[in-house]
């Protein structure tokens, strides 16, 4: 039987789709390569001192990343300190406590919070939340802990503390949703056995759900951390943008991302630009490591829990 011969497009199709997949792989590699190459002048000029110097003076071509790195670490730490416990109890509420109708509404609201663009948090933070902090929260903190070094200085509203709190709001939905999924992975039989023994909801949570899901929760926190560290617009709006390190959380500071957002278009000089790209490289490196750790950890956990089930 003679069939009509036609061109076999399958190899081309396969090759084309593979090329698209490899493009993703290539992108990650070229981002890393580009950042290293772009930062090379600064890497050569400042060496390791880049990370330990606090001087940031474009007029004198002095660039040190310390205040940006410090600001990133502190604002992220504040954010995580607030977001992690809150996310845990909200996930608990969603999985164990809320009746289904409430669960759907609260779950939907948390997902909506995750969808709000960073810049909207920034607008709200700068024009509404920072004045609120300055008028109520900061004077109150200063009055309950007089002389406490973290709560020194004039309550300006903008600064490290406000940035940290807004970061907390932004990563909360991510940690909550991963934690909720982890809690739901706990086999019902195990929980039911504990309830059958007469345990209260909290006892089941503390003795069964949390030990069972703790590793997943840790992974969720890593993911949230990776997000908080690179968050740009909201932080840029409220952190104050000052290249100085101060002990007080009320003081203005900056973060790696906010420095990039504010100064990148102003970098007229090659060395200035290279220093900014090196800041980007530091940020990219840290997020890569965090992502790596989180994925590895979550995958290990999933495999383990799969084996138990």
């Amino acid at each position: 039987m003679q069939t009509k011969t036609h061109i076999n497009l399958d190899p081309a199709f396969r090759w084309l789709t593979l090329a698209s997949g490899l493009a993703v792989l290539l992108l990650v590699g070229s981002i890393l390569y580009t950042l290293v190459m772009g930062a090379m002048p600064a890497l050569k000029h400042f060496g390791f001192g880049f990370l330990t110097s606090q001087e940031w003076n474009p007029a004198f071509m002095e660039f040190g990343a310390l205040s940006s790195v410090y600001g990133t670490l502190i604002s992220t730490a504040i954010g995580m300190l607030i977001a992690v416990p809150l996310s845990l109890v909200i996930a608990l509420f969603l999985v164990e406590i809320a009746p289904p109708a409430v669960r759907r509404i609260v779950g939907g609201a948390i997902e909506l919070l995750a969808a709000i663009p960073s810049i909207i948090f920034g607008m709200w933070g700068l024009f509404v939340f920072a004045p609120f902090m300055a008028d109520y929260i900061q004077p109150w903190l200063a009055s309950i802990a007089p002389g406490f070094p973290l709560f020194q200085g004039p309550p300006m509203g903008i600064g490290m503390l406000s940035a940290g709190i807004i970061l907390a709001l932004m990563v909360l939905p991510f940690i909550t949703s991963v934690t909720r999924d982890v809690f739901q992975m706990v086999p019902a039989v195990v929980k039911e056995s504990a309830y059958g023994m007469g345990s209260t909801t909290w006892e089941v949570t503390r003795k069964v759900t949390i030990p069972y899901g703790i590793q997943g929760v840790v992974g969720a926190c890593f993911l949230g951390l990776g997000r908080a560290i690179g968050e740009t617009m909201a932080v840029t709006f409220v952190i104050g943008n000052r290249h100085e390190i101060s002990a007080s959380l009320f003081a203005a500071g900056n973060s790696i991302a906010s420095t990039l957002a504010n100064e990148f278009t102003e970098a007229s000089d090659d060395l200035y630009l290279a220093a900014l790209i090196e800041l980007g490289l530091v940020l990219f490196g840290v997020t890569l490591i965090l992502q790596w750790a989180a994925r590895w950890w979550l995958r290990r956990t999933a495999r383990k829990m799969g084996a138990v089930r």
Partner: protein, 281 residues
């Protein structure tokens, strides 16, 4: 295990229930606070001029953000045209050909890394690769940055959605002698249509609120977008510039733009989620 009275245990349980309910309430309250502020402050800026006129110079009343609205639409459209086909193709390879192979695992891993990369880093990357080599800021470089952000999101959702299609369907098509590409595009795609569309919509929603990758690629402009080779006006960078300006008129416009962006991003998200939810029922 230490013995405790039932009363004590019940008390602790109630306490935890209360705390976690309050935390959930707090989350809802924050969402309500942010959304109501955006609506309250944004509404006064929304009028006919807002959608039809160019921004007025500082101090002059009136003016709108028509150029930025158009610019954002064009940049996003261009990003979709670049990001979606490549993302879909990558998803097809992962679901249909790569599956559990080493290469597929590496691509998945890279896609996850890319999804977790701060968007400002993508901006820096595109700046070095495109803006520095061409010598000027341009709308096209902004679109490329957004496309890079969309790419891994589209690829991973496409893979997930294609994997849901039963293999019997593929096998039936292949057994009839349909070539692989036709089976994939004509049959597998058709049955995964809703899921793919939702994934794309979610990716679009995500990038249309992005600011950081546009700051030093598209930059901003007070004029109508005429060419993608020039700095192109867009809503998010306009919000940033106007919010930081000392002029009250501009800040009002920034609130109007915020309402528009928040409304469209949240609207798209809700619609596509509803889509998925409706379909899963």
């Amino acid at each position: 295990m230490k013995h405790r009275s039932l009363k004590y245990r019940r008390g602790v349980d109630m306490g935890i229930r209360l705390i976690s309910s309050l935390a959930a309430l707090f989350g809802m309250a924050m969402l309500g606070w942010i959304l109501s502020i955006v609506i309250l402050k944004g509404m006064p800026a929304i009028n006919w001029e807002f959608f039809t006129e160019l921004p007025a110079p500082p101090g002059m009343p009136g003016g709108g953000l028509a150029n930025a609205i158009l610019g954002t639409l064009l940049i996003t459209l261009l990003a979709v045209l670049m990001g979606v086909p490549i993302g879909l193709a990558a998803g097809v390879w992962l679901a249909e050909f790569g599956q559990q192979s080493k290469t597929a695992e590496a691509i998945r891993f890279a896609a996850n890394l890319l999804m977790g990369t701060p968007s400002i880093i993508i901006g820096v990357f595109v700046y070095v690769v495109i803006v520095m080599t061409t010598g000027h800021f341009s709308g096209i470089s902004g679109a490329v940055a957004l496309a890079i952000i969309m790419l891994p999101v589209v690829a991973r959702t496409a893979e997930d959605m294609l994997a849901l299609v039963p293999s019997a369907l593929r096998e039936a098509a292949l057994a009839l002698g349909v070539p692989r590409w036709k089976a994939t595009l004509g049959i597998v795609f058709r049955s995964a249509k809703t899921g793919l569309l939702t994934g794309i919509l979610l990716a679009v929603a995500r990038v249309s609120g992005e600011t950081a990758p546009l700051l030093f690629t598209s930059l901003n402009s007070p004029y109508w977008p005429e060419s993608f080779k020039e700095p192109t006006a867009n809503l998010t960078v306009t919000i940033f510039n106007y919010a930081m300006s000392p002029y009250e008129d501009w800040q009002t416009l920034a609130w109007g733009a915020s309402l528009l962006i928040a409304g469209s991003v949240l609207g798209t998200t809700v619609i596509s989620r509803g889509f998925l939810w409706y379909r899963s029922k």
